[in-house]
Symmetry: C2
């Protein structure tokens, strides 16, 4: 089984139940399972013209997703890709039709036309006013006298639905639906076929090809064309649509046939607006999954030469869950980049003692390069020493540019320098350490407390805690002991570093991907670097 379902026989009723569940009470259904599957607006009072649509399932969210105030009153759901029965349609009509009558919106497939048509006759025999429109928006086969009904049906649902909601009578709603159908054209394209529940997948479209002019039931497209990319794909469709478009502003509907990712659909939206027909598109619906063909990796574009009163109805709010809205296209607003992306360079300032201290620290790191690399080779890629020594050399080179006389600025400047020269996670983490220490220093904390604040932030961001086999295992005890003097700090750092050799499970950082046997007996190179620093400073 390649679908999230339980059985082919239950997929439609279970999906309807899911749609009703997800509606939070907005949708109901008729008590006609398994054969009569009709989804209804829960808030319907028969006071206005009812709109009934439907057809085979497999096109979700059509049609149950469009049931709601301002769109459909009821959706009749057949089996996957199969027309619902006359009885099911009749049940739907009878359940929702009041004195104002009912409009059936049918996609142009023989089964749907006949079954909805006969159900309409039966309903009329009960004295109901029922009219029916047939949507035939597909332009894939321009010579076909009976064009298919595809995603352009949504224009009819929305415009007729909003009109009915405003209280228009059946004749008015029907006439408007007919006008919308006459002004609508659609075409689809796909890179792969859909998989029908319970059936083997038909691998019909070779790699590198696309099908143009397909319907929504997995039927083959009119032609297979070389697929060169989104731009060319939209251009080929735009060319076909263009022939049936007027020179007036259109509403475009960009429909996901089910299996295209949201990322791709957004790229297609960009291409549609950029295409040759983009200039004639004033409003956009989607991109969204509206009238799908199961999981087909494809999309369709529908265009409607909408008149002003259509736009008003398209923009009207609807309670239907799957309606994505209709927006007016407008030039994208591009906001200038904010100031502050270029790092603020503090003014250099001399301070002999601080300079000496920093130079000493750097030299300690440079001297430890070989040992730290060797240690890192036991648990990583053997470059910890080189990374730290490289950063130390860069810091030595930048020494005269640093604000040595201003500790707050100095922390930040060191952080900036390290993030630019060290690279990788450790560079970012040390940059965070120094930047946060600078923050703390700027609010008046003394050195030890500022460094502790830096460590806290580094731990918060990096996620390492004591015992995770990182530099924190030496640095944290050292800073904690620093108020007792450098010697105490050095002892604490060494004790912490040595302890890492007994930790065989690393909790953070790259060593967490190494197994226990490889780690046992080796001190973490980051912790070792910290221990050496404190030991040399204390010496």
């Amino acid at each position: 089984m390649t679908h999230f379902m339980n059985s082919k026989e239950d997929i439609v009723t279970e999906a309807i139940d899911g749609a009703i569940t997800a509606s939070g009470g907005a949708l109901s259904r008729l008590d006609g399972y398994p054969h009569i599957r009709v989804v209804l607006r829960s808030d319907w009072d028969r006071s206005k013209v009812a709109l009934v649509s439907g057809g085979g399932s497999g096109h979700e969210p059509a049609h149950a997703g469009f049931v709601g105030r301002g769109m459909l009153t009821a959706a009749i759901c057949g089996d996957v890709f199969a027309s619902p029965s006359v009885d099911a349609v009749l049940a739907g009509i009878l359940a929702v039709t009041g004195p104002a009558g009912c409009l059936l919106i049918v996609k142009n497939y023989t089964g749907d036309r006949l079954n909805f048509g006969l159900a309409a006759e039966r309903a009329r025999a009960f004295g109901h006013k029922v009219s029916m429109v047939v949507v035939d928006d597909d332009i894939a086969l321009p010579d076909l006298p009976q064009a298919r009904g595809v995603a352009g049906t949504l224009f009819v649902h929305k415009i007729a639905g909003a009109l009915a909601e405003r209280g228009a009578d059946l004749e008015t709603v029907t006439a408007r639906a007919e006008r919308v159908i006459a002004g609508t054209s659609s075409i689809g394209m796909s890179l792969d076929t859909c998989t029908v529940p319970g059936s083997p997948k038909e691998h019909r479209i070779p790699a590198g090809m696309a099908e143009l002019g397909l319907g929504i039931h997995g039927e083959a497209g009119v032609e297979q064309i070389a697929y060169l990319g989104a731009r060319e794909a939209v251009a080929a469709m735009a060319e076909k649509l263009s022939r049936s478009m007027r020179d007036t502003p259109h509403v475009a509907l960009l429909n996901n046939l089910g299996g295209a990712s949201v990322l791709e659909m957004s790229v297609l939206a960009t291409e549609l607006v950029r295409s040759d027909i983009g200039g004639r598109i004033g409003q956009l619906i989607g991109p969204a999954s509206l009238m799908t063909s199961l999981d087909m990796r494809g999309f369709s574009v529908s265009v409607l030469a909408a008149e002003a009163d259509d736009l008003d109805l398209l923009a009207a709010p609807s309670a239907a869950r799957a309606w994505p809205g209709c927006v007016a296209l407008q030039p994208a607003v591009v906001v200038p980049l904010p100031n502050g992306l270029m790092p603020i360079k503090a003014m250099p300032s001399p301070h002999a003692a601080t300079r000496d201290f920093l130079v000493t620290c750097c030299n300690i790191m440079i001297a430890a390069e070989h040992d730290l690399n060797a240690l890192d080779a036991k648990s990583g890629d053997g470059d910890t020493g080189s990374t730290l020594a490289g950063a130390a050399r860069a810091l030595l080179g930048a020494m005269d540019q640093l604000p040595l006389a201003d500790h707050t600025q100095l922390y930040r400047a060191i952080g900036q320098e390290l993030s630019q020269t060290m690279g990788g996670s450790s560079g970012v983490l040390l940059a965070i350490f120094f930047a946060a220490a600078g923050d703390a220093s700027s609010s008046g904390l003394p050195m030890r407390e500022a460094l502790c604040a830096g460590l806290d932030r580094m731990q918060q961001i990096g996620g390492a805690t004591l015992g995770d086999r990182t530099m924190v295992d030496a640095l944290k005890p050292a800073l904690d002991a620093l108020d007792k003097g450098l010697a105490a700090a050095a002892v604490a750092a060494r004790t912490g570093a040595n302890h890492t050799a007994t930790l065989t499970k690393a909790g953070a950082g790259r060593a967490s991907y190494i197994n226990a046997e490889q780690l046992a007996g080796h001190v973490d190179p980051g912790a070792e670097a910290v221990a050496r620093l404190f030991e040399h400073l204390a010496a």
Copy 2:
């Protein structure tokens, strides 16, 4: 190329442009292409706490789809499955942060944590108040100290976003975000891997298997399990989620990982509510594509032990396009079937002349069975004669049950009888013909006009016009000529029927799939049946 894109390098910027286009002006972006890709609320005035989120692309609609009033203020977009740069994050923070400060909502991946973390430090150096929360909702690896951040992030976006929109301060919004994170658990399942733009697809999951406990970057799941169907799949996930759920009502979020069809997602919604944790789910978000993994054929379930004040914020309206809303679960309303589905049987009534006429008609059809079958074999499956003769025999058998004395009721009763006994399109079409004739008769039209009204309706529903090589080619001229008498009608019917032999392109019905050579020279069997009927009646 298997994606709707132009190039791997441009896919993110082009998708952002598409999202901005589809927003109708609600979204803007920073002028930082190609490296700084930041989407902003167009209506932002910095008067409240700003919410910034983001990460790698490929998770659409996350995160740009959740930018809008009541959710995110800005989304920072990295390359597909790659963290955005520190500069990009910093640009976003600086662009939206005012005196109320900024909350960064980060999913727990090292790159995101470090880059957002360092950007936060830089922004603080400008005097901005910036806090950061890390979402780690994935329970796939319960022993992992650093759990991944997946779709549960949406709870944080929505609750913190609504709280900030109401004017809460940064500390309050941050604390609430932390509380929501602590109360959230998620797990995912997939039937197939995602396809990364520009990379070959990794076929890792064998047919019949599902991966449980996967992330949102195409990484392998914790385990592969036999896939037995939607119910068992949800049960396996519910069992894992159950361990981290409290005994209080939860909000569940049902997320499409990108490639599951809308039909399937609805089935999964049904199964989720039916599952062992269903009783603890009080509210539902989705099913919807919220935090995808490109086109992965999978889904995830997130649960939040929401407190009352969370529910209020979850239910608050949001302008973010991709937010599907949060609904309270309630028992499905099942409406009784309407009356009227059982056909109304008119009272039988005797009428000798009408009975004789109908018996004659039936016998004509029965006598023509062999000839009509032979004719149909030229262009169809050779059963037109048998279908009509079978219907005629059924009608003869039902003769004493018909309301022969009441023409209006008789039309309808014949239509009912034919729709039950004939089957197929022709049965439905003749049922429509007689039902519509009955309607016309009930409004006072005489026989010929009533039959013409029936024909009009049959043509409207069936779509056949004159010249389409159907029974209409004989029936329409016959009815038109009927006011000059039966003889004239018979001549017209025969002329029309014979003309169909010259029509080599059928416009409606099954013969439209037959090529011209096969049709040439053969009268349409439906038209022939009509001609024989009128000829025998006139004789």
